[in-house]
Amino acid sequence: MTTMPPVADDSARLAAFEARIAADESIEPKDWMPERYRAQLIRMMSQHAHSEVVGMLPEGNWITRAPSLRRKMILLAKVQDEGGHGLYIYCGTETLGVDRHDLVQQLLDGKAKYSSIFNYPTLSWADMGAIGWLVDGAAIVNQTMLAKASYGPYARAMVRICKEENFHKKQGYEIMATLARGTSAQKAMAQESLNRWWWPSLMMFGPHDKDSSNSDELMRWGIKRKSNDELRQRFINLTVAQVQAIDLTVPDPDLRFDEATGNWLTGPIDWDEFWRVVKGNGPCNSERLGARRNAHAEGRWVREAAVAFAEKQQRDNREATEKQQMGTPLGDGASA
């Protein structure tokens, strides 16, 4: 990587690369790829990993208060999965030649984004249902598409992660369904939670296609296969039926079924709110980032200890090997 390839080579490589994309071939870490492709993937994958890690916080907020042992265990397992997904995607991102620690530093410095949905607070137990059902549900719609992404390591990570997300979604919906058929207080808790999470979950798919700056390039290179609006519509169609099945109400007076297209059409999404949260002024942006920074700062001495101990061990092992070699008489046979 010390010399730049000649320009002519580059354009030939680009043509070959785009031909591979067009033929639906999978791009692997050692393959040549345009720097823009690499940069877009690093941006997307690291945002995804950050989202998994920050996403542990709003649900972590309710582990200690889960109302039954079974729910507590499911929630713990789910949050543990999210940490695992974060780790897995960070490793996937490292195949593109970046270091996980640099990516984490970007998050802590406020330079990297993560899913805005996690900047909303979790205010009741029902939010554990709403997050699993709607937030993981939206993530599945998105990730099912990403499982066909042109970059092999990302696509394979998505296949694996989607399996676990399906379990997350199922448990979330089950929480909501149980609350909805429970006491009147429980049903009210479920509806109130749905009211708060409905619109932010629709915003998870990003701006309308016409306002999405990255979409064209991502789709041209097969990183994304469907547009934000297509994915959002798919999610709405799936979810409205699920809301009705548990006798809750979608908090949208303009919601209507369009016979011609077979789509559920919603009222306008509040994009001012979306951009406000993206730009850092959501209800929990500073808490979430603050919690990550705090954990990182409080953990510094632990990480330093691990490094110091590993270095000591390496030194001891080296010295032991040297001693052994020096102590081994020539012609002993053991060294032959």
């Binding site: 890690v53 542990m56 916080l57 972590g60 582990i63 200690t64 208060r65 889960a66 109302p67 039954s68 042992l69 079974r70 729910r71 507590k72 265990m73 713990l76 397992a77 949050v79 543990q80 940490g83 695992g84 974060g86 780790l87 960070y90 137990w125 929480i175 149980t178 429970g182 006491t183 207080a185 429980q186 919690a291 705090n294 954990a295 990182h296 409080e298 953990g299 510094r300 001495w301 632990v302 990480r303 330093e304 200890a305 691990a306 110091a308 101990f309 000591k312």
Partner: protein, 253 residues
């Protein structure tokens, strides 16, 4: 046994409550650990411990036969009815306190579960067999960290030693055999925990040596948890743990 021994339920609660309360404390780390790998490991340990508590509480409810299930026992008992050792309820502290506590309790747990795999009570021995595997992993994880922290940097050594000093007075209670369990021990149902101490101490000393840490001498050992006399911390822990369940009595979740 036609009717269960009256000491069996308290004995089971002592086993279950240790895991439930320590699992709760461990779960407080979720999302706040020093590195992502430890977030995952601590969540996994918390999950194992609460899972162990769940099984033992289920069994305690069945043995008691008063219609209390595992959730009633977890969420609708007062602090004075909990039977965990005081060690388990102390605040989570820094990562050093968390790790040293996991090491001390995990080692006790391995010895206790191992003994209980030979319990004449088949339900209990079945639970013990499963839990033993998990606890072996917990103590390996914690023991490796105790050595790393003790023999890491000056700061990590100081913090690890402070954790050992702070927690040591709460280790004695683990090995104080409750008087009401004598007949259960005689029948091979329960374990005499006082017999586990020598082996525990040998293994602690070995890890402390490798970690360049020292165990304090001549310390008064705190006690009370096994009889329901707790520290001030447990009430706050339970207030948090039980709030949702108690706000909706009789509700299904």
């Amino acid at each position: 046994m036609s009717s269960p021994h009256p000491a069996l339920v308290p004995a089971l609660l002592r086993i279950a409550d240790d895991r439930l309360i320590l699992g709760h404390r461990t779960s407080e780390w979720c999302g706040h650990a020093p590195i992502l790998e430890e977030d995952i490991a601590l969540a996994n340990i918390a999950l194992d411990l609460i899972g162990q508590a769940n099984l033992v509480l289920q069994y305690a409810g069945t043995v008691e036969g008063a219609g209390r299930d595992e959730d009633t026992l977890a969420f609708f008992r007062e602090a004075i009815e909990f039977r965990n050792a005081l060690l388990c309820e102390l605040p989570k502290g820094d990562f050093g306190v968390t790790i040293v506590r996991h090491f001390f309790h995990g080692l006790y747990s391995v010895l206790q579960w191992d003994a209980l795999t030979r319990s004449t009570d088949q339900t209990l021995s079945g639970i013990a067999a499963k839990a033993l595997k998990e606890s072996r992993y917990h103590v390996r994880h914690a023991g490796e960290w105790v050595i790393r922290l003790g023999d890491g940097t000056e700061e990590s050594h100081r913090r690890a030693q402070e954790a050992v000093d702070a927690l040591w007075p709460y280790t004695g209670e683990l090995f104080m055999q409750p008087a009401d369990e004598a007949e259960l021990v005689g029948a091979g149902v329960a374990t005499d925990v006082s017999l586990l101490e020598p082996s525990w101490r040998t293994q602690v000393d070995e890890v402390m040596r490798r970690a360049t840490l020292r165990v304090p001498d001549g310390v008064w050992m705190q006690r009370g948890g096994r009889d329901g006399r707790h520290t001030e911390h447990l009430g706050h822990l339970l207030a948090e743990m039980q709030i949702v369940a108690r706000s909706h009595p009789g509700a299904q979740w």
